[in-house]
């Protein structure tokens, strides 16, 4: 049955059919029967990366296969979401090695996007924590790959947006914790310079990120709240918390039931930020112990917050610039600021070093913010893309819904190598998405005309 399918940004919506599977033979016959197939998890990538004529929903392929509580390893089918994993591992004293800002993504999605978290500068991205994984390829064979086994294939699968095949099983390592709490520190920064200085000063903290105000100009340009944290130790908890150190206090969830006009979300975030910045937070620095949920997943508390952007949807724009391109960050932020089309808040984070083939992170600054879809937006984002490229940066494919293909080919240094490996295992273009077609990673004609793009 054909239906309109869209991911988290509600843009674009594409006519797809979606089929799920619970057993290997069902997956195999689906892949065998169809072309233009892409695996789709919980639909939390923002754009068109998991949209194709035939989407394979992995959500019912969600079984836990092994949990080594002694040494901290977890093996599961790829359709399980991180929130389910946290419910299993946290009570046993373990945590995810890497988590993005939502726990409602699947493990397969975490691999295909090679997700990063607030601890990138210390722990890298998800691909650095995989022991091995199984991937069903276009010819119907399953390849077990790891950093030491089928390595080309492995590195083209990490961050490879599902183009090498369907990730079925993943084994990864976990992080030992004593409590379900985070010892958090919030620091106010007057402007961009100060927050960048603070990132450096607090880089020994495992977790760090900043909320940055995109509207302020002049002296307060880039005023921010830097939030850093560590997993709390048992002795740091209050007596009440220490009674059940690995359990979270129970609370309900808010759901936005329908699409709201887009100003609602901005008003909400402005208020929340100001409350933090000016409210009880008159001191420059606050220290407290908080449950891990609000620390890692502040927006998950409002299910379907994306509907706050209205029916037209939004795109999330996330780029990274190398460390020596701080000026570029200022330039781009100024352009966003002048235009006034973006969300009021952006997330700023400093990445550490990363070795990878096609993953998004590299050592430098990454900024993410939302733009409600409107007339003229894509033209403006094209201008930003040029600035990102000029400053040797690139865009996050998991958030992308509209980048022009030449930006991708020029900004990802290993794009050709990646496309070659994809072609080697997926030469008939069985696995392809609206995104991979748009970016010409799986081009309709012959191979990508490489000369034109290098």
């Amino acid at each position: 049955m054909q239906k309109q399918l869209a991911n988290w940004g509600n843009y674009p919506a594409v006519t797809c059919d979606e089929q799920s599977f619970t057993q290997d033979d069902q997956l195999l016959s689906f892949v065998h029967q169809h072309d233009a197939v892409i695996a789709r998890g919980n639909g939390r990538c923002y754009g068109d990366a998991s949209l194709a004529v035939h989407s394979i929903s992995t959500l019912k392929y969600d079984k836990v296969l092994d949990f080594d509580t002694e040494n901290g390893f977890f093996e599961c089918q790829a359709g399980i979401t991180l929130d389910q994993i946290l419910d299993i591992i946290v009570p046993k004293g373990w945590f995810l090695p890497i988590t993005p800002g939502t726990k409602y993504i699947t493990v397969g999605g975490a691999v295909a996007s090679d997700v990063h978290g607030k601890n990138h500068h210390v722990d890298g991205s998800f691909s650095g924590h995989i022991v091995y994984m199984d991937v069903l390829t276009a010819d119907g064979k399953t390849i077990r790959c790891s950093p030491t086994e089928h390595t080309d294939f492995y590195w083209a699968t990490c961050g490879g947006m599902g183009l090498t095949g369907v990730i079925t099983v993943v084994k990864f390592d976990l992080k030992k914790i004593e409590t379900a709490y985070i010892k958090q520190k919030q620091l106010k920064a007057k402007n961009l310079d100060e927050v960048i200085r603070l990132f450096d000063e607090y880089k020994h903290y495992t977790y760090s990120m900043a909320w940055i105000d995109c509207l302020k100009t002049g002296d307060a340009f880039g005023r921010s709240i830097l939030i850093v944290g560590e997993h709390a130790k048992k002795e740091e908890l209050s007596p009440k918390q220490a009674e059940h150190p690995l359990e979270l206090p129970k609370k309900g969830k808010l759901t936005i039931p329908f699409n709201l006009p887009s100003f609602v979300l901005n008003t909400f975030t402005v208020k929340a930020f100001n409350w933090l910045y000016y409210g009880k937070n008159l001191k420059r620095e606050i220290n407290n112990i908080v449950p891990y949920e609000p620390f890692f997943y502040p927006l998950d508390a409002i299910l379907h917050w994306n509907r706050g952007y209205g029916k037209a949807g939004f795109v999330q724009y996330q780029f990274v610039l190398p460390m020596d391109q701080k000026e570029g960050l200022v330039t781009i932020l100024k352009r966003i600021n002048e235009k006034g089309w973006g969300s009021f808040l952006a997330v700023l984070k400093v990445f550490g070093q990363q070795e990878s083939l096609i993953s998004f992170p590299m050592e430098g600054y990454t900024l993410a913010l939302d733009f409600p879809v409107r007339k003229g937006l894509f033209q403006f984002l094209d201008e930003l893309d040029e600035l990102v490229l000029q400053h040797k940066g690139r865009l996050y494919l998991s958030k992308d819904a509209r980048m022009k293909q030449d930006i991708f080919w020029k900004s990802y240094p290993n794009a050709q190598r990646f496309a070659d490996i994809v072609h080697q295992y997926n030469s008939q273009r069985k696995f392809r998405s609206v995104q991979s077609d748009r970016l010409l990673i799986t081009p309709p004609e012959e191979r990508q005309p490489t000369a034109a793009n290098q």
Binding site: M1, T22, Q23, V64, L65, I88
Partner: protein
């Protein structure tokens, strides 16, 4: 004395454990700390679910080969269960293809043998054991299709009608021997089998809703449940259309 016996039997047997509804039921009961026995024709595909239940919920899950069509094997299957379940949930069924079944006896008889004969065969054995123990709960998943025969699925519907009547009679018998029998009429359910059908959201349940409804109904000692309450009234309407009119309808 009887109570003591009952609490020791904290195992649920799921017959036809491969379906989405079965997975949801298994997870619900495992979450409530029941041990789970998974039974299906092929056991190998059940192993990931077995692992999943044990790791997530810290209970014991086991896997058994069970073929509803092979009625001769049912006695031995039940006898071989190392622990007799406190609750037996009969989830298996076979929808088949109506048009094929009209002219192809193999298809028709498979529909009847799975939904009626096979279910009766295994539940007779379970019921006799429960009656002897004077304890136990049998849950049968039947279908609203069994409440009135229609041209689009009357072979499946008539098999389910037979199963529904069987459960009614079993409930009557069980009442006098301390055995609970619950009939479940799920209506439409979002599963792998139905995900490409345009189902009306108001009338369609998630597998988890079916599982929760069963768990609650067993606890409350209910007799018959419709997972979505709408269905009770829809079926009441449908059952009351005079046959003279009903036969002219296309449904």
């Amino acid at each position: 004395m009887r109570q003591q016996h009952y609490t020791r039997m904290s195992t649920v047997l799921i017959l036809g454990a491969g379906s989405d509804i079965a997975v949801a039921i298994a997870r619900k009961y495992a979450q409530e700390k029941y041990n789970i026995q998974l039974a299906a024709r092929k056991t190998e595909p059940l192993v990931p679910l077995q692992q999943d239940l044990q790791i997530r919920y810290g209970i014991t899950a086991s896997v058994f080969a069970f073929d509803a069509l092979d009625t001769a094997s049912h006695e031995a299957f039940y006898a071989a269960l190392p622990e007799k379940p406190a609750i037996t949930i009969c989830v298996f069924g076979y929808l088949g293809v109506q048009e094929k079944a009209q002219s192809n006896w193999a298809e028709a008889s498979r529909i009847i043998a799975t939904n009626y004969t096979g279910a009766v065969s295994i539940l007779n054995i379970v019921a006799n054991d429960y009656a002897a123990r004077k304890a136990g709960t049998i849950v049968g998943i039947s279908s609203v299709a069994g409440e009135r025969g229609r041209q689009s699925n009357y072979i499946y519907g008539s098999a389910k009608a037979g199963f529904t009547a069987y459960l009614q009679g079993l409930r009557n018998r069980g009442f006098h021997s301390g055995v609970q029998v619950l009939s479940v009429q799920p209506g439409f359910v979002y599963t792998r089998m139905t995900e490409n059908l345009p189902l009306p959201p108001l009338l369609t349940a998630q597998p988890e809703q079916v599982a929760n409804a069963i768990f609650k109904a067993v606890k409350a000692g209910k007799n018959v449940i419709y997972v979505k309450w709408f269905w009770r009234y829809i079926m009441l309407l449908i059952k009351n259309v005079p046959e003279g009119i009903f036969k002219k309808l296309k449904m």
